[in-house]
């Protein structure tokens, strides 16, 4: 390679590096005592689905009130679509939002687009992290709740007990890497 070619190549590499979007998962951040730091920037991750469990359909108090918007980083989604499991360090964020209060007994609202459920205020955040060493006792995943209430959420959270979170995932979705993939269209298809 000539001198000039090397310089040109170098410049091109620099340019490519400079303009490429963020790549590589940033992964979870743990405090010294093992608690998890509230993930940042998750609203720019990929939204994969939004189950809704209205309070009015759950005796007034849903375990997760009420919209569950689930986010995952793009490279971890890609890995799952390819391999059928999530890579080490995967963080999944479930942010809750209350539904607008409707006039119907089931809590639904009549809107211009029809009768149904519509998000109102954000209402909490739960996180799961895959780390096969740290969370070996719960099928490689740790579970954290940063509060089920309006913002601001807690800034750190300690690992939830097995009875709070992990047992239900172990009982129901151990075969799909502890994730309810059946609720998330992007995890069931390989589309972009």
């Amino acid at each position: 390679m000539t001198y000039l070619a090397r310089i040109t190549l170098g410049l091109l590499v620099m340019a490519a590096t400079a303009v490429s979007p963020q790549s590589g998962s940033k992964g979870p951040v743990f405090a010294k005592d093992g608690s998890l730091v509230l993930p940042a920037g998750f609203r720019s991750w990929v939204f994969i689905g939004g189950p809704i469990t209205p309070n009015k359909l759950n005796d007034g108090t849903a375990p997760f009130p009420e919209f569950h918007s689930v986010y995952i980083e793009r490279e971890n989604l890609r890995y799952y679509q390819k391999n059928g499991k999530f890579p080490e360090g995967t963080v999944m964020v479930k942010e809750l939002a209350l539904a607008q209060v409707g006039e119907h007994p089931d809590g639904s609202l009549d809107s211009a687009s029809g009768r149904g459920y519509f998000p109102s205020t954000l209402n909490g955040l739960d996180v799961m992290v895959k780390d096969s060493k740290r969370f070996a006792g719960t099928n490689d995943w740790g579970f954290f709740t940063f509060g089920h209430h309006a913002e601001p959420y807690e800034t750190v959270a300690k690992e939830s007990s097995i009875s709070q979170c992990a047992y239900c995932h172990i009982a129901s979705v151990a075969k799909t890497d502890m994730v309810w993939v059946q609720y998330y269209p992007l995890l069931k298809t390989k589309i972009d």
């Binding site: 939204f47 689905g49 849903a62 149904g116």
Partner: protein, 198 residues
């Protein structure tokens, strides 16, 4: 006279800098791509945009046939969300994508089902896409926004769509949400309350 290699080097830097500029300019362009006949091409990459909220109008609560069946997943590019939060209106060229999904296998008459997390609604298959585009010249007659429907059915969606009639889409937005830049911001928590995680 400048040594030849130095000239090439400077030219090379110029090319790189120009490429950079072009790339930077492209990232500021609208995500809307129009065909010569005015139809709009199906947006791509929208699942990487910011998800702002998901109203749900189950068929079972709408006489078996909701106008938008059934989940409405709404996506906006980050820079346009940021601009809206700063100024209260969307920039020219803003594209808002609403992707529909069905609900997952209903078991109750209202379309809900019971899962370990409770009784409610869960996403089923993708089921269509609607798009609004802000272009104050092209869509001057409908408050600066154009409306496009790429089909209400499973994937694949239509590759292009012509502007929907006023009666199909714009009429309702004009009647209800003209004051909030034609968008139902009340249904989208971060548009209404801001993004406090940033």
């Amino acid at each position: 006279m400048m040594p030849k290699y130095l000239f090439s080097l400077i030219a090379g830097v110029g090319v790189v800098a120009t490429s950079w500029f072009v790339l930077a300019a492209q990232t500021q362009q609208s995500a809307a791509v129009f065909n010569p006949d005015g139809t709009m091409q199906l947006p791509t990459g929208f699942r990487k945009w910011v998800f702002v909220g998901a109203p749900l109008t189950p068929n079972a609560l709408n006489n078996g046939k909701a106008n938008f069946p059934e989940y409405h997943h709404v996506y906006i590019e980050q820079r346009n969300v940021d601009a809206y939060l700063k100024t209260g209106e969307f920039p020219e060229g803003t594209v808002i994508v609403k992707e529909l999904t069905r609900v997952l296998n209903p078991t109750f008459p209202d379309g809900s089902r019971t899962e370990p997390s409770g009784r409610g609604y869960f996403n089923g298959e993708y089921n269509g896409m609607d798009v609004t585009v802000k272009d104050s010249k092209r869509f001057a007659a409908t408050n600066g926004w154009g409306f496009f429907n790429f089909g209400h059915h499973p994937l694949p969606y239509a590759e292009s769509a012509k502007e929907a009639s006023v009666a199909e889409c714009a009429g309702c937005h004009i009647a209800y949400v003209a004051k909030t830049d034609m968008t139902w911001v009340q249904f989208y928590p971060i548009l209404r309350d801001g993004d406090k995680t940033k």
